[in-house]
């Protein structure tokens, strides 16, 4: 299973490096969305730093949606499904590989968006560094959940529009937990109880993905 996971993750990341969709399309979108969020709040509130964690996670959700669609589009490219079926790849490994690649891509976009948050929204740099471990885990959870929901929407009518309807309710608790733990790292407060939610969600989505991804790929 792990061998397949590495294989699929390496394949997805290699395609991403070569196509540079993340670099030239997704990251600019994220930066623009962050700037627009700041503009929508106005200079007083946007610079107050307390809005930083919420806006960071909101923009991250939009970026995640783009990345999920991109990740699933790779699987739907001509001949890919047939190749996976012919090779007899373990579906659990495929799920883990896609989730891993998406996690790495989200970490990259997270670094850019955090830098933007510090520069534009005046989020405290030291507090942001303290929040890094919780952000790393939250983004991995978004990737695991997103891979699962992404597979649910592919092949039907309007996958790009259906995906937000399915994922945003599932992402809501992660958004709240991520924002609260980020805020706690910045301003003090209970950090661990929000961590627990994210870690439990990561374990649950990974377990469900390993168990049921094969069912979704059945033909």
């Amino acid at each position: 299973m792990m061998r397949v996971a590495w294989l699929v993750a390496a394949k997805d990341l290699r395609i991403e490096v070569r196509s540079r969709v993340l670099l030239w399309q997704v990251l600019p979108f994220g930066v623009i969305a962050l700037l627009l969020s700041g503009l929508a709040l106005g200079p007083t509130q946007a610079g107050a730093s307390s809005s930083g964690p919420g806006l960071f996670y909101l923009v991250t959700l939009f970026v995640t949606l783009l990345m999920i669609n991109r990740s699933q589009a790779l699987e739907n490219a001509a001949g890919t499904k047939a190749s996976v079926a012919t090779l007899g790849l373990d579906p659990a490994g495929v799920f883990l590989g896609k989730a891993l690649a998406l996690t790495i891509e989200l970490w990259v976009s997270g670094i850019v968006l955090l830098a933007g948050s510090v520069l534009v929204l005046h989020t405290d740099l030291v507090g942001t560094l303290h929040a890094l471990p919780s952000i790393v885990v939250t983004l991995a959870t978004l990737a695991a959940a997103g891979t699962l929901y992404g597979a649910l929407t592919q092949g039907g009518d309007g996958p790009a529009t259906l995906l937000p309807v399915l994922t945003l309710p599932a992402f809501a608790p992660l958004l709240i937990a991520g924002e609260r733990s980020f805020s706690a790292a910045l301003h003090g407060g209970a950090l661990w109880e929000w961590w627990v939610i994210v870690v439990v969600a990561l374990a649950a989505y990974t377990a469900v993905g390993i168990l049921l991804y094969g069912v979704l790929e059945e033909s």
């Binding site: 649910l152 009518d157 996958p159 399915l166 599932a170």
Partner: protein
Amino acid sequence: MIKLSQRLLGPVTLLALALTFWLGLWVTPPDAVQGDLVRLLYVHPPIAWVALYVSFGTATIASCLYLWKRTRSANLDRIAYCAMEISVVFIVLTLITGSIWGRPTWGVWWAWDARLTSTAILGVFAVAYLALRRANDDPALRARRSAVFAILTAINVPIIHFSVVWWKTLHQGASVLTSTGQLNVHGSMLWTMLIGFVGFTLLFFWLLRERYRLEVKRDLRVATTMDEALAQRRREGV
């Protein structure tokens, strides 16, 4: 015996609901603190019970059984779909009755409370389930994806149930039974509430049966239309 119970389901449901409304509106006394507002609580908790536990439970169990290859059948997929559809109606009713009670009690129609928010999220999940079904034409693929999504959605139910314990909420905790198993409601108020729970649970099963029958007829019509279209094409020599 089964036929008789099926025939009786409708009348017994109507009787239980009529009894709930009669007892709730005319027989039970006003509450010492809430006054006449308490009468809404004879319907709000039973509706929420059906929305969160009975209908979602039915949809989840049917979905799990569908995914298990030994028990896989189109009937289970239909049951899950119909239960989820009824769940949407009951979740909306839960939010509406809760809002009507919340306005005079809390002073607002809506509060960003853990119980309220998580219930609203569950409602969006249920609507998303219906959207997912509409997006897939292949019955087998649609059934598999819907079953997986229903199971993922069900993770929300325990979060809603324990939200009043895990977080400080405006919504009160367990009101009928305390954590030690002691009853908090007594006399005619308790009986009215219990009859309400029975009535709304029966209403769910009545609606489920009728909706299921409709779904079977719809599937049959789709299959017949397809057969007729194929036969016509053959006659045309295509």
